[in-house]
Amino acid sequence: MLIGASEPKLVPDVSDTQIDIAYSFTGAELLLFGAILYPGGRAPTPDTDVAVVIKGPAEPLLVREKAKVAGIWINHASARFRSVPSFYAVATSRPLDRLVSARTAAIYEIGIDNLLLSPANGSSASEQARFESGLIDLKRRAGLYAEHVGAVSVREGVLYRALVPIPARVPVGQYTAETYLIRNGHIVAAATRQINIGKSGFERFMAQAAADYPLLYGLAAILISLLMGFAAALAFGRVRR
């Protein structure tokens, strides 16, 4: 038997490959599930773990740091990052430190602290670390970076499912969901699925109009506010007479 054939295979799927943001959008729950296929139908070993990593489109960012100078808080330093995932969520079947080695976690970017944010300035390592932790703290507070330990359940070593919440202020774009099969601290199989998060209907129309026809959009905004002002004056004028 070939050695390669002894490796198990992942068959992943997601509940939605397209998430539409409409007027009533208050967040979503993404269900990631799938099966683990073992070559030759061999009985699976019990300690099978799964980690799911969901990443949003990466964007370049400028992070500013405030400091107290002469009693006043001002922006005093900044750092650039070339590619910061706009969204990052990891769901695992057991705590990260008992899942894989630190080295493997860093290579596959499993865990918020293992994200590669590619700082662009040539500043010192300690300074970069300070800005990185500041940025990560901001993202965590906005609910855009999250770790869901124990959110993946593996049944009989064959079926897995993970429920990952997507917050309402999620950025739009092309997302990737990477699923890793882990045994004895090693990643033995991986699979990727694409998820598209986009605005739909009226919301998309508004966002596109604001971006593509800025002059018309601005004039429309003024017109609407003028009309609403007039309407209120008319309504109250009638009431009083």
């Binding site: 370049p60 960012l61 906005a142 919301e203 971006a211 601005g218 209120a232 004056a233 309504a235």
Partner: protein, 305 residues
Amino acid sequence: MHLYLPIAGLSVNALVIVLLGGMVGVLSGMFGVGGGFLTTPLLIFYGVPPAVAVASSATQITGTSVSGVLAHSRRQGVDFRMGMVLVAGGAVGSFVGGFVFHLLQKTGQIDTIISLLYVALLGWIGVGMARESVRAVLATREGKPTPPITTKRHRKWIAALPFRWRFYGAGLYISPLAPFLLGFVTGLLTVLMGVGGGFILVPGLLYLFGVSARVVVGTSLFQGLFVTATTTLVHAMTTHAVDLVLAGLLLIGSVTGAQIGSALVQRVRPERARMMLAVIVMAVAIRMALGLTWRPDAIYTVQLL
């Protein structure tokens, strides 16, 4: 009821936003201040991105001002001639302000200095108004005649300006250059600080020129209407940050509030109304001063490149 804001990119409780608009509208109708000083920080606190909060509250103030101007004009409470001169000055001022803002942005730090100057200016105006209005309230309580708002009804430097015009609503015979300059300064500061021109305009009209108190609020709102309409357009063209759903929700509350506010202010004695505005101006100054000196909630801020 939750509604998703397409530009801000988050969902908000529609009722909260409408009520916030209503509260700001009442203040606006009563005192002639735009209310951006209240809306913008509250929206940011709610999680709306700062640029969207600033741009959309400008759109909201336009509608509120229309509503307020119409309500006041029913009672002959707007001097349109004075208003147009202020608008002209404001247009030049905001144009120059945009240019200055660009220069200052490059150097990075200077916005802190402007904030300090603004705090000092607002503090000075607020304390001055408070002293004057408290004196007037006390005088009426003792049954004495109300002292005039400004002892120098015709200040020397204003009287020295050439070509005088008659402003019937305001009850003045002064050179249009004086209100033009006031409009200019207001426009300049509005663009630089992004906070209310009304705070400078209303006290300026009352205390510098001695404009009749009956028309001050309406005339200030008339000027604010043009300034914020321009601001909306500029934001729509440059930052693309005007959220019409957010602005619409705010407007529902604030156009109604402006009508209520302008009716309310008729029932309040003018010196008491001035005292309330003085308190608001001082509160804004204190809030800005604290914002500069308190440890901010977030040491780090992020800007998309």
